[in-house]
Amino acid sequence: MGFLKRFFRSRAAVQQLPAGSVAVDRNGHVLTYTVSSAYPKELLRDIGQEVLSLFREARAAQMPLAEVSIHFASLHITARELRGGAIIFLFPQAAFSPITTRPRL
């Protein structure tokens, strides 16, 4: 049994946070990205779609936004609206990472 375990043991892994940028079109399709290829594509797509929904709902509330930032404890997401699509920047936050200034249009 011990011999078989060596071959069939599931691989241990911790989900990394994404770092880089993603461009999505107005339908939420990922056009291009600089995030590590090891990062799951479906999560990148989820990020794109949720960000687009924020822009869409802001437009519906008569407050179209040019840029949205979501700040989590470990990750900052900054997205700029691009003709219905968006370019999204993902910045993982380390314990001693310097304070980032928000990019402006």
């Binding site: 241990a12 911790v14 509330a61 040019a66 840029e67 949205v68 404890a73 990750l75």
Partner: protein, 356 residues
């Protein structure tokens, strides 16, 4: 008979579990140690048995340590958590602390400094047992409460003022309940704060106490201070309408002083009315803020990015910031010319003094 604390150790490496078992067995408090090799098994055990401490690895198959900690944080908020990992990466350290763990320790460090690690574990096990009578204090009640909250302690504060007796329950630095003379919750707390003198003593914490106070203690202290001032200044006792009018004026003054355009307080859907101060139409924006917080929280859980801090957005006309506070969220609008750097601090300041 003294109750032994239970420690649950979660790691996919059986050899490491044996090592932990041997090591924790020598702790002075002689805790009961249970070991599990998977996150799912750990969660199942936590559901069925009361544990004091969870020692968790990060890198595990199927469900990793961060996923386990994220669930534990929501379902067992009183459980102390320690991460014992071989991953020497600052990112994981900060993510673990963002999830509210009490201690992050590297396995490699433990091998060279095991005694310090064991001291930390012992301290975490015994933190709530320290309580007891710590002496009569001669400070103001506000000072005592603030000290207890800042030190993140768990205690029951018993206050005596002549024949009057009151109790305040503080759990991990948060005021959760108050009781005096037939009143309970915030009403009791505000009544106690009006006492000018008295004696105080600390009793052991009561972890099973039901929570009746949800607002932050600082907001309640500010509200109490303001209400005492108003009572002292008022020439004639004000009616409810006068108090409401005064509050509105005060909030508008606060808004103007800080330079914000509007503040919208958004309760959870179907729970209370939206409160708006400023010139913006509130309904659609409140709806957006509520949806934005829901969307961000959902996304944060999916990508394991830790708790949501805030959401910011801007266009050419204004900047907006959504702050999540308890059940409700605050949407603060700012003109475009306000510098983006201090915007978060300014918004937090505005929100924290809003209810006071």
């Amino acid at each position: 008979m003294e109750m032994r604390h239970k420690i649950l150790v979660l790691d996919d490496d059986a050899d490491w579990l044996n090592l932990c078992n041997e090591m924790f067995a020598h702790l002075p408090s002689e805790p009961e140690i249970r070991t599990v090799v998977s996150g799912a098994r750990a969660l199942a055990l936590l559901e069925t048995e009361p544990f004091r401490l969870l020692v968790c690895d990060l890198k595990m198959p199927r469900m990793d340590g961060l996923q386990v900690l994220s669930i534990v944080r929501r379902r067992f908020p009183e459980l102390r958590t320690v991460v014992l990992s071989g991953l020497e990466d600052e990112e994981f350290r900060s993510r673990a602390y963002a999830l509210g763990v009490d201690l992050f320790w590297l396995k490699t460090d433990m091998q060279v400094n095991s005694q310090m690690f064991l001291d930390c574990i012992e301290s975490l096990l015994g933190r709530d047992m320290e309580g007891g009578f710590r002496g009569i204090q001669s400070k103001s009640l506000m000072d005592i409460i603030q000290m207890e909250c800042l030190s993140r302690s768990s205690t029951v504060l018993r206050i005596t003022r002549g024949p009057l007796v009151a109790k305040l329950w503080i759990q991990n630095g948060e005021l959760i309940d108050a009781e005096t003379e037939g009143a309970r919750g915030e009403a009791a707390f505000l009544r106690i704060l009006a006492w000018k003198s008295g004696t105080f003593e600390n009793l052991p914490a009561e972890s099973g106490r039901e929570r009746t106070i949800t607002r932050p203690v600082n907001a309640l202290l500010l509200e109490s201070a303001q209400s005492i001032d108003e009572t002292a200044d008022s020439v004639e006792p004000g009616s409810i309408e006068q108090t409401a009018h005064r509050k509105t004026i005060w909030k508008l003054a606060l808004l103007t002083r800080e330079g914000a355009e509007f503040v919208i307080v958004v309760p959870p859907e179907g729970q209370g009315e939206i409160e708006t101060m400023g010139t913006q139409p509130s309904e659609p924006l409140a709806k957006w803020a509520r949806r934005a917080v829901e969307t961000a929280k959902r996304l944060g859980e999916r990508i394991e990015a830790g708790p949501l801090s805030h959401i910011a957005g801007h266009n050419l006309e204004r900047q907006m910031l959504v702050l999540n506070r308890g059940n409700e969220c605050f949407l603060v609008g700012w003109p475009p010319n306000v510098a983006a750097g201090p915007l978060l601090e300014k918004s937090k300041k505005l929100v924290s003094s809003w209810d006071s």
